[in-house]
């Protein structure tokens, strides 16, 4: 009898514990710098406190390893329930069949918050929406107003202006411009920004064949190699950090980067009002300024019903304007809102750093509206883009021109061949 009673008690305890146990969600993300991890933790704490039935935890990962680690973890059943992503990364996991379409959920969110269409486009294909856009990054051209004044130049509008500006800015103390030529993602991004401003934004034809090898691309590579010639001698090994260091230390007159604001501010760049930001110049006058943009999103990796609901609750909460700005400002000046009400959110604009650099950030948000991402444009999205972008084939083609000394036309033709091999 006694035994029975204690067993019943145990059963009640267990079942009530099970009942009350919150739905656990694990989140992987690649925002590993300490201040971002800390900010995300603050967000999670606030969410978990206000939602006792859900418990979200984070595991920061690094972009360097996640391409190998996430598929291995998912295949082995050790993966997360949701993961932050960029458009290039989504096809890798989608091929494993774990990524859930969030089309209905996104539609609901869109009616509330209004996504910038360019942020949804790269996740919408194969009859589904494969991630909820969360934050955007778009590339801009950064300069110093005082240096431009000193050299008597105005903000370049066209490629010709741009090259002239770089030549004028070059002195014994400063390189006119700093653009990367490393076989690395940063170079993919800068060359594509130039391509997108020279009518070469499409990598694919509508039937999925590659159209990289065309006169517009060749012109863009030719122009880019002239910029590289005016850059510091070590641009072959540059990543984003070197470019920022070069600009912030006044060794580079101009750079292309998503945001330099926090580096500029904390590493002695100068007065906030001296920091100039402009759209990437276009090939011909009067053209529309394009740029590369990375709408980061969150993917759902589980088909468990309770977890899916918890995921939707969490993401809805995150996109609420009163929370959203705080989330974006995990790296002030770098992460731009993807929703209309987010772009007006008090929680975004009240950050001290954002207040300080308000004009620059407003320009960056405006520029991000024309954001494109290679391989994810005009609905022409094909699986081979994952291998093309992961192998940095756009950047490799830059090196064929700047390192091997091939003509732009030869390099682009060879680049198309390599891409076709990668796409096989």
């Amino acid at each position: 009898m006694k035994r029975f009673a204690s067993m019943t008690l145990a059963a009640v305890l267990i079942s009530s514990a099970a009942y009350a146990a919150p739905v656990e969600l694990t989140l992987w993300h690649m925002e590993q710098p300490p201040q971002r991890v800390q900010r995300i933790q603050e967000m999670l704490d606030a969410f978990n406190d206000s939602h006792p039935d859900i418990s979200v935890s984070q595991e920061p990962q690094s972009w360097g390893e996640v391409y190998a680690k996430a598929p291995a973890a998912l295949a082995a059943g050790a993966g997360p329930d949701m993961i932050f992503t960029i458009p290039d990364f989504t096809p890798v996991l989608k091929d494993l069949g774990k990524v859930q379409s969030v089309a209905d959920f996104v539609e609901k969110l869109d009616s509330e918050h209004h996504f910038i269409p360019a942020t949804l486009e790269p996740y919408t294909y194969d009859d589904g929406v494969w991630a909820v856009p969360l934050y955007n990054m778009s590339m801009n051209m950064w300069y110093r107003k005082s240096e431009f004044e000193k050299a008597g130049i105005s903000v370049p509008e066209t490629w010709d202006d741009w090259l002239k500006a770089a030549e004028t800015l070059a002195t014994s103390e400063m390189y006119g411009i700093g653009v990367p030529a490393n076989k690395q993602l940063y170079t993919d991004q800068t060359i594509y920004s130039v391509m997108a401003n020279g009518g070469a934004s499409e990598l694919y034809n509508e039937d999925g064949t590659l159209r990289f090898d065309n006169p517009e691309t060749v012109a863009a590579y030719d122009f880019y190699s002239k910029l590289v010639a005016l850059s510091p001698p070590d641009v072959n090994s540059w990543t984003w950090g070197e470019a920022e260091a070069c600009f912030t230390s006044k060794s580079c007159g101009m750079i292309m980067q998503f945001s330099v604001i926090s580096t500029y501010d904390t590493q002695g760049g100068g007065a906030p009002e001296d920091l100039g930001i402009a759209a990437i110049p276009t090939k011909n006058a009067g053209g529309e300024h394009n740029t590369i943009a990375y709408p980061n999103g969150v993917m759902l990796l589980t088909d468990d019903k309770a977890k899916t609901e918890a995921f939707e609750t969490f993401v809805s909460w995150l996109l609420e304007p009163e929370n959203y700005g705080k989330f974006l400002n995990m790296e002030p000046g770098l992460f731009m809102p993807v929703t209309e009400d987010g772009a007006k959110a008090e929680s975004f604009w009240s950050d001290p750093m954002v207040e300080k650099y308000k004009p620059q950030i407003e320009t960056a948000i405006a520029n991000s509206k024309n954001g494109k991402l290679f391989g994810f444009t005009s609905g022409r999205i094909f699986p081979s883009i994952a291998a093309i972008s992961a192998q940095n084939l756009l950047a490799a083609t830059v090196q064929d021109v700047t390192v091997s000394g091939d003509s732009a036309a030869d390099a682009v033709a060879a680049g198309q061949k390599t891409m076709e091999e990668a796409a096989e």
Partner: protein, 289 residues
């Protein structure tokens, strides 16, 4: 005899078990993979026979990466042996602070490779880097240069960085070998009137050769497999000038999403290395006997 076999088994089995589990099984699974068509981890495999081998062997990437790996191994071996031999000979002498120097010679070896990479990336850069200003001040160059700007330059710079990290290890092994040379041999040579150079060529060098032999085998295999320093600094560039075999394997598997092809390249690499290891091991045996 029976007893001894049993004892030997007890002594050898635990180590073998670990090796079999951690290295043997993945080796087998790589061989299996090389006959399949897996692209991403976790997708359904199909058997394709020797298709991967035919594809890999007929492409140009493999051959160039084998060539680069060969140069890599030789260049590292030469530079590291020279540095290490100089260091070991110096540290084997008696001088004030010799003990401290022998302890701290390992300093560059205890630095994790990721950290090594960041140190040199910063030092070689044109923003904040010390190397360019130093060379300018010494009058060697008059404008900052890019150390990774050309394939050959990048390759040489990587060899330098990798050797900087690894030479203390070889120094220590050589020092250990040198201390095993009986001191009275040198005394006898001295009495015979042999000078320092003679003592080195007649005593130190021949008696160090077994140590150097083991180091040559293992050092070659270890430096062949160096991956993270190259990947993190140049990712095989510029213009594929530093794409050694491990870099090619990683790139094929995790950037090109062709896991089976990567496995094929690694099986080929293993066969090459194994042939090298067995030939040198046999040569070493002969010398020992």
């Amino acid at each position: 005899m029976r007893n001894s076999s049993l004892l030997a088994f007890a002594f050898v089995a635990p180590a073998m078990l670990v090796l079999l589990l951690i290295l043997g099984w993945p080796l087998v699974s790589a061989v299996i993979l090389s006959f399949q068509d897996v692209r991403y981890v976790g997708t359904e495999p199909h058997w394709v026979g020797f298709a991967n081998y035919i594809k890999v062997l007929s492409g140009s990437k493999l051959l160039s990466s084998i060539g680069l790996s060969l140069i890599w191994v030789v260049a590292n071996a030469v530079l590291q042996t020279m540095l290490a031999l100089a260091a070991a000979l110096a540290l084997n002498e008696r001088f004030r602070g010799a003990k401290v120097a022998r302890t701290w010679i390992i300093l560059t070896w205890i630095v994790p490779t990721v950290v090594v990479v960041m140190i040199w990336r910063w030092l070689f850069s044109t923003s904040g880097g010390m190397i360019n200003p130093l060379l300018i001040q010494m009058g060697i160059i008059d404008r900052p240069i890019g150390f990774f700007a050309s394939p050959a330059g990048a390759f040489a710079t990587l060899v330098f960085i990798n050797s900087w990290r690894w030479f203390p290890f070889i120094t220590l092994m050589l020092l250990a070998g040198m201390t095993r040379i009986p001191g009275d041999l040198y005394e006898a040579a001295r009495i015979d009137g042999a000078n320092a150079w003679k003592r080195f060529t007649r005593i130190t060098w021949p008696l160090l050769k077994p140590t150097l032999g083991v180091l040559a085998v293992i050092g070659t295999l270890l430096s062949f497999n160096v991956f993270d320093i190259i990947w993190l600094l140049t990712a095989g560039g510029p213009a594929n000038g530093t794409r050694t075999m491990p870099v090619l394997i990683y790139e094929t598997a995790f950037k090109g999403y062709r896991l089976s092809e990567a496995a094929t390249v690694s099986v080929i690499a293993t066969i090459l290395l194994l042939a090298f290891a067995l030939i040198t091991a046999r040569a070493l045996d002969r010398e020992e006997n």
